[in-house]
């Protein structure tokens, strides 16, 4: 069905055009400011000094920290979400209930999630109360804003578990039960069915789930600001500080470019994996 060019463009323009316009504006501004143009303070001229200013301990530490949070969140969530997805695959009584309970964190906004977990882990929180009550410790533990970033990881895992679960469930569903039955029939024990058939067939879906959580957590601001250690901060927090506290918009823009570039890289990986997922369904 040949749609005429003009109609197509007119249809796409409102939605895609809007997104493109503002996204391009934001990205363009980031890139331009990173090379010294459109500067707020002082004169605007093309320079790479802002980029050079990144070569210091603070940036590297923040970069590594964000990387750690991204990878840790993505795989930490996977450890729980994949077995759960496998478990929920066969319809037993209780799957409906579990499915509903699981969905809840999906609808809890990031800041609230941060608060909820911090609340639990706080000095006066339920975890300390429980541990004290059970006699495991005799004084409450200080668990907040820890240097490693465990707070952040726990919050991100809590928040992203249903998200990964959704994606993984959809992937597992696309694997025909026939193929699983055939494997069992040919002598594969339940564990070997998973290892030889289900795992390889769900690999693209796993990749998507991991990549998406990585992207979401790598560039996070709010949760890391609230629950993360004082130093190092995540890249987004560093970027914000550079801009609003230190008025170093140039440097901030450079960090922005770095985060954006990393995200785009992983978006490309996501796109690849998504295509592979589409092919499994045959």
């Amino acid at each position: 069905m040949r749609t005429d060019r003009l109609t197509l463009v007119l249809l796409i323009l409102p939605g895609a055009g809007f997104i493109f316009l503002f996204l391009a504006a934001a990205i363009a501004m980031t890139v331009l400011q990173s090379v010294g143009l459109y500067s707020l303070v002082g004169e605007s001229k093309l320079t790479f000094e802002h980029w050079l200013s990144l070569a210091d301990r603070t940036f590297i530490d923040s970069f590594l920290f964000s990387l750690k949070v991204g990878v840790g969140s993505a795989f930490g969530t996977l450890i729980f979400s994949y077995p759960l997805a496998l478990f929920l695959r066969r319809r037993r009584f209780g799957t409906q209930l579990i499915g509903s309970i699981i969905k809840i964190p999906l609808f809890v906004p990031a800041l609230v999630a941060a608060f909820l977990i911090l609340n639990v882990l706080a000095f006066h929180g339920i975890l300390n109360s429980a541990l004290l009550g059970l006699g495991i410790i005799d004084r409450p533990l200080r668990m907040l804003n820890d240097k490693f970033g465990w707070n952040v990881l726990i919050i991100q895992i809590w928040k992203n578990l249903p998200f990964q679960l959704l994606i993984l469930s959809a992937t597992l569903e696309s694997i025909q039960t026939d193929v699983e039955d055939a494997a069992r029939n040919l002598g594969a024990s339940p564990w070997r069915v998973i290892r030889h058939v289900i795992l390889p067939l769900s690999a693209p879906g796993i990749l998507i789930a991991v990549v998406l959580v990585f992207i979401l957590t790598f560039g996070d601001y709010a949760i890391t600001k609230v629950a993360g250690p004082v130093y190092p901060s995540s890249l987004s927090v560093l970027m914000y500080t550079e801009a609003f506290t230190l008025q170093q918009w140039g440097a901030a823009a450079c960090i922005g470019v770095v985060i954006t570039f990393a995200s785009l890289l992983f978006v490309a990986i996501y796109a690849r994996a998504a295509r592979a997922v589409a092919e499994i369904g045959r």
């Binding site: 026939d178 039955d181 055939a182 069992r184 029939n185 040919l186 002598g187 070997r192 067939l201 499994i280």
Partner: protein, 355 residues
């Protein structure tokens, strides 16, 4: 390790003893009792929902009977999980592993049994040659035609030398011509290997063509078991008569030792059950009706021709006999026309009493 000379099953036969299986409030299999000898190909035949696939899956171990026993030889298998049963199933959808090559698919069962590599290669090569897949070993299922996929499924099953071979409507996704060819190949292969086989289909022509015995199932119960020709010629119930080929079924009353009075005439029926008097049904095949000149002979039916249908190798007649619709198959020399009133004869030994 048993090294069996010809064929491989060491297990003698498959036995189902009063197997029952429920699905929620519905009874899918209602007391199935069956004895299959070693090396036999037995077909479970029936309409969808009759319980044949459920029975097959219970033999495979995918579900357990609610009551009753499944025995491979002397051994009770109810609690044995599917991966320890040494059965092999060819699925309707073939169920090939999409992420493995043809060779890897076929190797899977051997890998699970930890067969040494050299032996694996030998057996896989043999299997590939048996189903004529030489040259396609490195392809993936997505790159194969339907017929080729089916052969991979077959090779994958037989290479494990199973005690019992199971088929779940393996030909239903193939076109008609291919179906005819492949079912013969399956039968030849099965006979050569001598493996006990349970075959499920809803296609009665297929069942008639390849089975040692057919089990006709309806609503979870067995209607009749027997060799194809026995079932065809001597159906015990009207369901079997009507399901296997076409049948003319007429109600009547017993009127003697081998005599049945019906609204369309008196019929002398073939040997079989002794008639005890009371209402019965009789059945005969359309191809057993002959046009005869008006005259005396047993089992004459006068009928008006309502339709003449050319079917290639024969002509089918739709007949009206005193309000009862009948079908006849006559040879292509038939010259009658719609509206003709004709007499047809049915030999007594071709008329059976059915329930």
């Amino acid at each position: 390790m048993c090294a069996c000379a010809a064929g491989f099953p060491a297990v003698s036969g498959l036995r189902l003893r009063n197997v029952v299986r429920h699905y929620g409030g519905f009874t899918a299999v209602d007391g199935v009792d069956l004895d299959i000898a070693k090396g036999e190909l037995v077909t479970l035949l029936g309409p969808s929902g009759c319980g044949k696939t459920t029975t097959l899956r219970m033999v495979a171990g995918f579900m357990a009977p609610d009551s009753g026993d499944i025995l491979f030889g002397e051994r009770r298998m109810n609690d044995v999980p599917p991966h320890r049963r040494n059965t092999a199933m060819v699925f309707q959808s073939y169920a090939l592993f999409p992420h493995m090559t043809v060779a890897e698919n076929i190797a899977f069962g051997l890998k699970m049994r930890k067969i040494p590599a050299a032996e694996q290669t030998r057996r896989i090569g043999e299997a590939i040659d048996t189903v004529s897949l030489r040259g396609l070993e490195a392809r993936r299922p997505g790159q194969l035609s339907g017929g080729q996929q089916q052969r991979v499924a077959l090779a994958r099953a037989i290479v494990t030398q199973p005690d019992i071979l199971l088929f779940d409507e393996p030909l239903s996704n193939l076109d008609a011509k291919l179906r005819e060819k492949v079912r013969l190949e399956i039968r030849e292969l099965q006979k050569r290997l001598g493996v006990t086989t349970l075959y499920v289909t809803h296609d009665q022509v297929e069942a008639l063509a390849i089975s040692d015995r057919i089990v006709v199932m309806n609503k979870g119960r067995i209607e009749q078991v027997g060799a194809p020709e026995t079932l065809y010629r001597s159906p015990v119930t009207s369901f079997v008569a009507d399901f296997l080929g076409a049948a003319n079924i007429v109600p009547g009353t017993a009127a003697g030792d081998h005599l049945v009075a019906t609204p369309i005439g008196r019929f002398s029926v073939g040997p079989g059950r002794k008639l005890g008097g009371g209402p019965v049904k009789i059945s005969w095949r359309p191809e057993d009706m002959r046009v005869v000149a008006p005259g005396a002979e047993a089992n004459i039916v006068g009928a008006r021709v309502r339709g003449v249908v050319f079917c290639g190798s024969f002509i089918e007649l739709v007949l009206d006999a005193a309000g009862q619709q009948l079908r006849a198959q006559v040879d292509t020399g038939f010259r009658g026309r719609e509206g003709d009133m004709l007499d047809f004869a049915v030999p007594s030994d071709r008329v059976r009493v059915v329930e």
